[in-house]
Amino acid sequence: MKKFNFSLLLIIVLLAFACEKGPDEIIENTDYITIDSLTATFYTVKAWDTTTITCYARGENLVYGWECDHGNFNGSGNQIKYAAGQCCIGLNTITCTVSNDSSQVSRDIQIEVTTYFDWK
């Protein structure tokens, strides 16, 4: 019986060590990225006025990429400034892509740019 118990304990210990998470598995778990929100200080701006857009995301070693169909960016990281001239009046789409070594998630936000002249 004692021999059986010892063997059982040995197996349990071996299994416990065998199941310990290796470094690769830890990275795999933390590579998971979630974008919690993508917000702007203003969703409607006059031509050439600035709105600041912030992306809140969870994950490890995150890199933030930004692109838009019309307009200009300034800055980098999870917060950038956006402005567009009279050329870009309308509903413009800004895409934030958050990535790390093995994952990538994107989310869009739309900013309406209104004419320089008719601002009220």
């Binding site: 960016f73 050329c87 320089y116």
Partner: protein, 314 residues
């Protein structure tokens, strides 16, 4: 007549702030006198440099105060090869490279945007359709294509640069041109007319839907051989571009323009093969649709070398 010509030339050369051109628009900038047709088996290699700067917004024809871009400028290199396949047929290639295409902002908290790299390439086929030796008159129609081989999605710190500083236009463009040349009994004088139509293909990518307006360009070029090696030229160019279109085929109201440039030009032939030319682009009339940034001035230099591949008789 020559006095009037020289006086106009000198006035225009130093008349810096009289007008403004379009700056930092997409695609390679235009150079003075790109209409030459080559003789059979003759090759011309032209290396060009152009600097352009801009610091004023325009609403129609008049300036307007906008607090955004303080200064926009570029330094551009161009390599052009023109080869005479036959005595009537020539082929021309152009390749552009932007050393920089930069926007400095006046807006608080905004820092410089700077693009650089390969621009568009162009291939043009020219045909000497008509030549009358006694009347010293010739007509050279040509067709061409501009290829967006350069950089159109340049990023800095994973942030895409604005389209205005991307080196390539990102769009295929198709060209129809005609050049007419008229010589005179006095061989020192020469007159040319150049007309060009450019159709830009729609850019329809994952995040970008845009079509540049069509472009119409008309040019009158007069030149006078001042001395044996010095040549003076004056080009008057009307550059017109229609409005662009964005997604859902919406018209971009603040796009397109009509600008009339005067382009004084001076060239010096070191030898029969080497030629150096200097040009300044001075707009004398401009009208922008809506509000757009206009150019302050442009200057360019070109160095050209001719060689022929016809075997000389012993």
């Amino acid at each position: 007549m020559i006095r009037i010509f020289l006086l106009s030339f000198a006035a225009l050369l130093f008349f810096e702030n009289s007008g403004y051109a379009q700056c930092c628009s997409a695609g390679n900038p235009f150079f003075y006198g790109e209409q030459a047709n080559m003789a059979h088996k003759e090759l011309q290699v032209i290396a060009g440099y152009k600097y352009s700067t801009s610091d004023t917004y325009y609403n129609g024809s008049g300036p307007i105060s906008i607090d955004f871009i303080d200064k926009a400028y570029f330094n551009y290199l161009n390599l052009q090869l023109i080869y005479g396949i036959t005595s009537r047929l020539s082929v021309q290639t152009d390749l552009g490279y932007f050393i920089n295409k930069t926007e400095d902002y006046s807006k608080e908290g905004w820092t410089q945007s700077r693009g650089f790299g390969l621009g568009d390439a162009a291939l043009t086929v020219k045909y000497l359709a008509y030549k009358n030796f006694s009347k010293k008159f010739s007509i050279v129609p040509s067709i061409g294509i501009k290829l967006p081989i350069g950089v159109f999605d340049q990023e800095v710190d994973n942030v895409k640069l604005p389209i205005t500083v991307q080196p390539s236009s990102g769009s295929y463009k198709y060209l129809l041109n005609v050049y007419m040349n008229k010589g005179f009994n006095n061989p020192k004088w020469n007159l040319g007319f150049f007309g060009s139509f450019e159709y830009a293909q729609l850019i329809d990518s994952e995040n970008f839907y845009y079509k540049y307006g069509n472009s119409y360009l008309f040019s009158i070029i007069g030149s006078y051989l001042l001395k044996e090696k010095f040549n003076l030229g004056l080009e008057v160019r009307s550059d017109n571009r229609g409005k662009s279109q964005r997604e859902d085929d919406k018209i971009v109201e603040s796009s397109g323009y009509n600008i009339v440039y005067t382009i004084p030009h001076i060239s010096y032939s070191f030898t029969k093969k080497w030629l150096l030319s200097l040009n300044a682009e001075v707009p004398v009339y401009r009208y922008y649709n809506g509000i757009q940034m206009g150019n302050k001035f442009s200057v360019s230099a070109q160095l050209s070398y001719r060689m022929d591949f016809i075997k000389k008789l012993p």
